[in-house]
């Protein structure tokens, strides 16, 4: 009897752990994860799996040339429709754009741009914002006042308008957008992190560390930051989607990723003319890609938010 009672907690603990991890696996949003994995896969292996170059026109087949120009020698064939249309071909499954470049290959390379820009931008913003928020919350007094007033002022600007202003002085460019995203989004993290720290710094383990004479810097990084990470992760996952849209919008307006790079937003902007001619597919495919990426990021973020905040379950 005694042995059983002594073993019970261990058994219960193990079974709970097993059940909990299987719960996580079951509840995890499968489709968004699949979409994200697929996009990341395309982004990483774009040079290997993309059927054509993202920047150079696809060499036309002899038939395509004859059909379009009535002669055998032509530089490229633009605006080939997707494969299911009458003039489409399987060589360029999603058609070619106004310069005869393969849309599918450009979309694959475009995943690179969207993911890299959005992830690095939000990550840098997250690090800066979290640190400032933690400093404000932990040091309190004047630090808190100054940092939070600046954060508040920062938060009043609509992010797209703010991003446009910054891009107007920085000029187009991939890394410029990362800088801009970091500058625009840090304030959201600061808000959340500071709020969390206000309760954490009153907890016993922080007080005990202070009594033991641990240095402030060590308390911040050993005891406070690890406890803020959960909330920061939620903000991060929800911000990535917004960052993707901001990047696409900037590129759409011509102040984001410069041509000829295959940014999804830029692709949509460049095809506005052909849209009026009824060639809808050119603008729709990049749009679907953006939507899928943002949708998956948001669903994952929602799931994370609910998982990390028990009060929100069943909501």
């Amino acid at each position: 009897m005694a042995t059983i009672t002594r073993r019970m907690p261990l058994i219960i603990g193990v079974s709970q752990a097993v059940r909990r991890s299987s719960d996580v696996a079951r509840e995890a949003p499968f489709i968004p994860l699949l979409v994200l994995t697929l996009l990341v896969f395309f982004a990483i292996f774009a040079p290997v799996i993309a059927p054509h170059s993202a920047l150079d026109p696809v060499k036309p087949t002899r038939e395509q040339c004859l059909a379009k120009y009535g002669m055998a020698a032509c530089p490229y064939v633009d605006n080939v429709p997707p494969f299911w249309a009458h003039e489409g071909s399987v060589r360029t499954p999603l058609g070619t754009d106004f310069l005869g470049r393969d849309v599918l290959s450009r979309l694959m390379y475009g995943a690179r741009i969207s993911l890299v820009v959005a992830l690095t931008g939000t990550l840098v913003a997250g690090v800066i914002g979290t640190l400032l928020g933690v400093l404000a919350g932990y040091l309190g007094r004047w630090w808190d006042q100054i940092i939070m007033r600046i954060t508040d002022a920062w938060l009043t600007m609509p992010s797209l308008v703010f991003a446009i202003l910054l891009s107007s002085v920085r000029g187009p460019g991939l890394w410029n957008i990362v800088v801009i995203l970091a500058l625009v989004f840090w304030s959201r993290y600061a808000r959340v992190a500071r709020g969390e720290v206000l309760t954490i710094r009153e907890r016993d383990f922080v007080k005990l560390a202070e009594i033991n004479g641990v240095r402030k810097l060590r308390i911040i990084f050993r005891h406070i930051v690890p406890n803020v990470i959960n909330s920061v992760m939620v903000v991060f996952s929800l911000q990535v989607g917004v960052a993707v849209i901001i990047e696409a919008s900037l590129s759409f307006l011509g102040v984001g990723v410069p041509p000829p790079e295959p940014s999804w937003g830029l692709m949509m902007a460049q095809e506005r003319e052909s849209l009026m001619e009824g060639k809808w597919w050119l603008a729709v495919f990049p749009g679907i890609c953006i939507t899928m990426l943002v949708l998956s990021a948001n669903m994952l973020g929602d799931w994370l938010r609910v998982r990390l905040d028990p009060q929100l379950r069943n909501r």
């Binding site: 009043t156 797209l160 202003l165 002085v169 939507t291 669903m299």
Partner: protein
């Protein structure tokens, strides 16, 4: 109450000053307003001339004091391309943006609030899933994609709606007879851009209505009303709805202003002559004073609105005004 309003006012002024200073600083720290006007490899004398014209060759504190001084006088500088004060051009365009913003606002409310209520009342059912899906799609489909799809379907394929422009009606400040009809004409031009713009905010509205409603339905006084045997319709219409609308209306007010200011891409797609397009024109004409002016105005509008909301909150809820 007077003290509360005073504190909020000081707070808003500080926020405004910080905002203006942040913009001043960031523009000079992260880049150079001249890069916008002069392409790479431009003549050095030309660049020096530009710097001089914009006062960028002066010491930083001088630039700052004259910048703040001009703003206090309501002077946002002169547009480079049109050689008119930025303020004049801005005011000319503002009614168009307001019209688009209002229409999008109405669409977001009409779509968001009923759907949000429905999914809160039928929580964890099929209705709820539909609501959640629409909310997610609203937040995930960029407005400009929605706009392009609308153009493809209703403009290019079906030819139901005009694709470009705002129609013939105009709002002219000097001519009061145009002030009223402007809002009620050319709805066919308004339909697509307003939907594309309102779409995103409908998702946000839906979410906040749903969670507000769930919170209220969970509260003690709703339980009490139900225990008293009040019919369910009355519980919802009279007791739950009113209380759940407070956060919704706050967000709605803010959203209206945000819609007026972030419609840039939508306005570009539909060639809608609002302030967003002004921002875009400023970008493509390399007109820095214009870009800065539009951005500053949107900041000012939002700070002022936040102040108004705070004061209204203070009126409505004594706990708020006594807590500070």
């Amino acid at each position: 109450m007077r003290k509360y309003i005073l504190i909020r006012a000081v707070y808003s002024v500080v926020t405004l000053w910080l905002l203006v200073t942040i913009i001043f600083g960031l523009v000079r720290l992260t880049g150079d307003p001249v890069t916008m006007k002069a392409e790479a490899g431009a003549d050095a004398a030309y660049i020096a001339q530009l710097r001089h014209n914009w006062g960028l060759d002066q010491p930083l504190y001088r630039q700052y004091t004259s910048y703040i001084g001009n703003l206090l006088l309501g002077d946002f500088g002169h547009s480079f391309g049109k050689s008119l004060p930025v303020k004049t051009i801005y005011l000319e365009r503002l009614p168009n943006s307001l019209k688009l913003g209002f229409a999008a606002f109405v669409i977001s409310l009409v779509l968001g609030i009923p759907l949000g209520m429905l999914s809160a009342l039928r929580v964890n059912t099929w209705w709820d899933s539909v609501g959640k899906t629409i909310a997610l799609l609203g937040l995930s489909m960029p407005g400009f994609f929605v706009g392009l799809v609308l153009i493809i379907v209703f403009g290019v394929q079906l030819h139901w709606l005009p694709v470009l422009g705002k129609g013939a009606s105009a709002f002219i400040w000097s001519n009061p007879s145009t002030w009223v009809p402007f809002w009620f004409k050319d709805w066919s031009h308004l339909a697509m851009p307003a939907f594309a713009l309102g779409w995103y905010f409908a998702g946000a509205m839906l979410r906040i209505t749903r969670s507000g409603m769930l919170d209220v339905l969970d509260s003690d006084y709703i339980k009490l009303v139900r225990l008293k045997g009040v019919p369910e319709q009355v519980v919802i219409a009279k007791h739950a709805l009113k209380n759940s609308m407070i956060p919704v209306l706050t967000l709605a007010g803010l959203n209206l202003l945000i819609m007026v200011n972030v419609a840039v891409v939508i306005e570009v797609i539909f060639n809608w002559p609002g302030v967003g397009q002004l921002l875009y024109d400023g970008l493509s004409n390399r007109d820095f004073p214009m870009v800065q002016g539009v951005v500053l105005m949107s900041g000012v509008m939002i700070v002022v609105l936040n102040f108004v909301i705070d004061v209204l909150y203070g009126y409505v809820d004594p706990r708020i005004r006594l807590s500070r």
